[in-house]
Every structure is written in structure tokens, then in C-alpha cells.
């Protein structure tokens, strides 16, 4: 793996810098006069940055104010919290901008990788290993689509890449209750640009990973009823589609192979998934 050079502009003192994050041919412009935030965004979206806005899909501003920071995007607010608390908030705002601008897509809480023109998605709540599996499979030759959000077309079994920089949890190497997984520290994984999938990809399979301490990696087929339940549950913009999202999830559940993956060791799980190639 190699470090990707981000298109980070050179800001002058107190000047406002702009970054352009691209998704599916449209750019979100982020403006900020906070150097640390600029660096955070440049790192978080390094594989999605482009030099200029061509087709705008929105604008997000994060600026210093008298008492702290002002954020203007889909919503607007004043924030006095320390800056490092606001990093995740800004990521959520950026995502919200894209979701809002592309309500025609079903945005799943899922990571994904590609091999041979087929995508394997990892869906489910946080703390079950989406980022871990996506990055470990990328080390095995699969190409990275996303680690946390998967935009799926409503009219085709196709997922679009959303290759924000993956951040996976650092396992302490000892017994850990599944509920504690979400509290682990994360490490940023820098992927070679060649390992990033750029084109929409047909969905070949969906996996619902579940971390279970002491469990050997095991894949089991999920019945369509359970698969549909989980897909609807993990649809982040259900309100945009409602009945259409229900139908779409049912279609996916019936036509795409869906698996449950229980595991305790990420590398074993990745090896097992790699054997699906």
C-alpha cells in the first residue's frame, strides 16, 4: 500500500480553502478556514477529491465564528465543541449532502469490494467489521468500493463506489464482548489508488458479518425473509423511498446470494470470503 497524495490546497492565513469531493460525476464543494478540518477532510476523502467543481451537487461550509464554528450545509448550526469532536459530525454532514443530492439511490449502511466485475457488500450496524473486511480483502487483490456506505441503484443491481478513506477498528487481541467492538480505536488505512474501484459494479453477493468472540469464521446462507429485513433496516435513506425501498430490498434478497458471516478473527474471515472469488 502507498500513501495517496491529496489535492490539498495551500491556504493563506485566515483564508478560506475549498475542496471538491466527487461522487458519480458530481462534486460537493467544502469550504473552510480551519486548517485542521481542511486536513481531516482531505484525508477522509483523499480518493474522492478532484481539482474543480464541474457539476455541483451542493456546498458545505465550516468556518470559524466568534464562539467556535459555524457549519452550513443541509442544516446550519453553531458549534462550540472542541474541533476533534466535530470531525465525525462533518463526515456525517458531507454524507448527508450526497444522500440528499442523490435521493434516487438507496444508500445502504454497507461496505464493499469488487473482483471480476462483481461487488461483494458487507452490510450491517457499526462494529461488525465492514471496514475490517473491506480493507483486508483489498489486501488480497479485491478492489475497494467503500467501507461504510453503499449507494445502490433502484433500477439495477448495481452499487456505486463511495471510496472514502477506510478506518478500521484496532482489535486489542484479547476477549471482547461484541457490544464493545464499536468503542474500539480506529486506524486509517491508506490504499493504493489502483486498488480503488471507480465504476459502478454489479452486486454479486451481500454478507452480514457478525463478530462473535471465539467463533471460527463461518458463512451461512440467509433466507430471503431475514435478508430483506436486514436490508431494509440498513437502508439509511428509507424515508426517501419507503415502499420502493421495501420492494428493492425484497428484490435484492430474492435475487442476490445473501450470507451471514460469524467470525472472531478478521483475517480468517477475509480468507473465507476470498475463497468465494
Amino acid at each position: 500500500m502507498t500513501t495517496v497524495q491529496s489535492a490539498l490546497p495551500e491556504p493563506g492565513p485566515d483564508s478560506i480553502s475549498e475542496l471538491h469531493i466527487e461522487f458519480d460525476g458530481r462534486q460537493l464543494t467544502v469550504r473552510t478556514d480551519v486548517q485542521e478540518m481542511l486536513e481531516f477532510i482531505a484525508d477522509a476523502y483523499s480518493a474522492m477529491l478532484v481539482p474543480a467543481e464541474i457539476v455541483s451537487c451542493g456546498r458545505f461550509e465550516f468556518l470559524r465564528s466568534a464562539n467556535g464554528y459555524t457549519a452550513r450545509g443541509v442544516s446550519e448550526g453553531q458549534y462550540t465543541a472542541p474541533l476533534h469532536y466535530l470531525f465525525e459530525f462533518v463526515k456525517a454532514e458531507v454524507l448527508l449532502q450526497f444522500v440528499t443530492s442523490r435521493q434516487d439511490l438507496m444508500w445502504m449502511h454497507a461496505g464493499g469490494v469488487e473482483l471480476g466485475g462483481r461487488a461483494l457488500l458487507f452490510a450491517g450496524p457499526s462494529g461488525n467489521g465492514k471496514s475490517t473486511l473491506a480493507t483486508l480483502l483489498s489486501e488480497r487483490g479485491w478492489r475497494f468500493l467503500s467501507d461504510d456506505i453503499a449507494p445502490i441503484r433502484m433500477d439495477a443491481d448495481e452499487v456505486l463506489p463511495f471510496p472514502q478513506t477506510p478506518r478500521r477498528r484496532i482489535h486489542p487481541g484479547h476477549h471482547l464482548a461484541p457490544a464493545k467492538m464499536g468503542e474500539l480505536e480506529r486506524e486509517t488505512i491508506t490504499l493504493d489508488r489502483a486498488l480503488i474501484q471507480r465504476a459502478p459494479t454489479a452486486i454479486g453477493g451481500i454478507v452480514f458479518p457478525a463478530f462473535e468472540d471465539g467463533r471460527a469464521a463461518k458463512l451461512t446462507r440467509v433466507a430471503p425473509g431475514d435478508a430483506a429485513f436486514r436490508l431494509i433496516r440498513d437502508c439509511t435513506n428509507f424515508a426517501d423511498h419507503k415502499s420502493a425501498a421495501v420492494s428493492r430490498s425484497v428484490e435484492l434478497a430474492r435475487t442476490i446470494p445473501v450470507y451471514g458471516l460469524s467470525y472472531s478473527n478478521g483475517r480468517d474471515a477475509a480468507n473465507l470470503l476470498d475463497s468465494l472469488r
Binding site: G225, F229, I232, C235, F238, A239, S243, V246, V250, A253
Partner: protein
Amino acid sequence: MLSETDLVIALSRMPVRSEARKRVRQVLEQSIDWDAVKRLATRWQVEPTVFGNLGSEFATAIPTEVRSEAAMLEQLSRAHAVSRTLLLMELVDSLAGAGIPAIVLKGPAIAIIGYDDCSRRTFGDADLLLRRDDLIRGRDFLLARGYTAHFHPARERAMIAGQSALEFSDSRSSVELHWTLVSRHLRFNLRVEDLWSRSQLIQCVGSEMRVLSPEHLFLYLCAHGAKHEWSSFRWICDIAQLAARLTPSQAGKVMELAAEANAKRLLALALRLAQEVFGEEPSPFPSSAFGDRRDTAALVSLVSGRLIHGKVDKGLLPPRIAGIHRYMEPLAFWLRSRERIRDQIACAAEFIFVPAAGDNSRNQLQRVFRPIRLAANAVRRLASAS
């Protein structure tokens, strides 16, 4: 009526009726106990419609945190309904593959016909109508798939003869196999061959599902509700939803079927209950279908008192009499729901004399023992009550 109750009633319909919309807006301007709304929608099992309507139609009138929670509850309840439907469809398809056709009686059938979407109505047990000749094969099919029967094999023959449902469950679902719509002693007989010949195939989650005709379904739900003393708000909601989708011609057919089955009062009771809960609505039924108000007033008052106003202890019978047997109150309710004395007497007599599923049906003396046992228990309970 409490504003929270009012709100849940109005939002339980799909779509929200235009007259109710104004009322909802008025209620939303007041201080709302949102936990009470959530509890009531959950208790009444109308989460998909209540939370869906809140988020879709009144999003700007509710607090942000309520909006978020409503969206989540709608999403989960609809996911649950779809999941159950797919599970049921998989079973129905497998039964069909084994040469055992089945009619889906309620659950997703009501959801699709009455709410236009299988995810808009949750359901628990699956009720399947099989042909009588297929019942044993249906039982064997379920047992082979790992289901457990909830009846003693020795009682099976009597249960089938008595038109009782055969109940099964596995770790994930419960299934009831029927060959008629209700038990024989209830004296509500729609011709079984008509149920099949008029049944329809509808699209459900990507495959076809056989359901009762809208007319049979409507009348069946009238009987089913009365059988269970209309103890679920959702059943009344179903009646209102389905009525709104019937044409006058279909409503006329329902009335014909009700007349043939001597079940006009069952129909009238259901229509009046829907009217009591949801107010006057345009109806495909003529006023004659609603019957004489006096025939159903006590039952309507009892049901709405229990469901809407929380008068759960209210009953048709004095407590001492109701305490004689757990079935006294439901039986009294059912008898009051029937218009013919002949049916009332036959139903009561069958309850007293014909061995129930819990009796040893192989012993012919049960016809003698059962009334004696019931009478002895009644005397004992009356004595202990006094």
C-alpha cells in the same frame, strides 16, 4: 377521548382520511405525550401506518427527535412485516411444490388488499386454508420441515371434524392449518368450494399468493373479529381499510353471502364498529347492511369501551357468570353477534355437549361427561365466588 388515542386512530388509516387530517393537525398543536403514542401504536400493532403517516404527512408538525424515532419505527416495523411475508411465501411456495395448494387467509392478504403493500401491516401467526383432503399431507409436510404440532395426535381427527385449526410452530413462525374458516360449533358456514372457486391470485413480494375473494375475506374478517370479541384494534382498522376498497357491487355480494350464512349481524357489527371508531365515512354498503342499531349497540359499546376507553373489565355477563368458564364471555359475545335463535341455541348446545379439542374425543361417553363436568365446575366456581 385522549388526544394521543385520537392521533393514533387517525394515523392508523392508509392513507389518512382528509377529514382526519385537520383533526391530526389540531392535535399536533397540543402538548403530546409521544411515549404514549408509541406505546399505543405498538399495542394496537399499527406501527407501519401510524409512524409512516407521521413521517410522510406531518413531518413538519412534529419535533425532530420524534420524527427520527418515527422514521426508525416505521422502517423496522415494515422490515419486520416484509420479512414475515417472505417467510410465509416461501412456505406457501414449498407447499404448492409438494402439490398442496394453500389460500393465505389473513396477514399479507389483508395487507395487500386493504393497504396496497405487504409491509404496511404486521402480522404474527400465518393462517392457511388447505383443502380438507390435503390437511394430513400439509401436517406431514410441516412436521418434515421441523415444525412442532401443538395438539395431541389422538385429538387430530376430532379437531379436523370440528373444523378447529391445526397449530404448528418452529423457532421462527407459527402456522395454523384450516380447512374451513371457523370452528363448526360457531355455525358460520360459507361453502368451502366457493372459497376456492372464487379465490384469487395476487402479486406478493415477487411471487403469486392465493387469497380469498375480497367479498369472502371481508365477511370472514367480520366473523373472525366477533369470534375474538373484536379484541384487537387492528381488526377494526382492517374492516375500515377493506370496506374503503370494495365497490358497491362487491359490498352487495358481501351482503348476499352474509344473508346466506345467516351472518347479517356479524357484518352489521363490523361496519358499526368501524363507524364508531373512525366516524362516518363514505361506504360502499347501503344503510341496510348496518342493521338495526339496537341489535349491535351493546356490543359496539363494549368493544369501544374496552379498546378505546380502557374499560378492560367490562363484559356482557355478570362477573360471577363470566367466571364459570373462560369461554363464557366470548361465547356470549358470539351468540349476541348472531341473529338467528336457532344458531345461538345450536352453538351453545355444541359447546356444552360436543367434546372440545381438550377432551378425550375417542371416548363416546364424553358427550355425557362433558356437560356434567361443565355443570360441576360451574357450581364449584359459583360457590367459591359467593
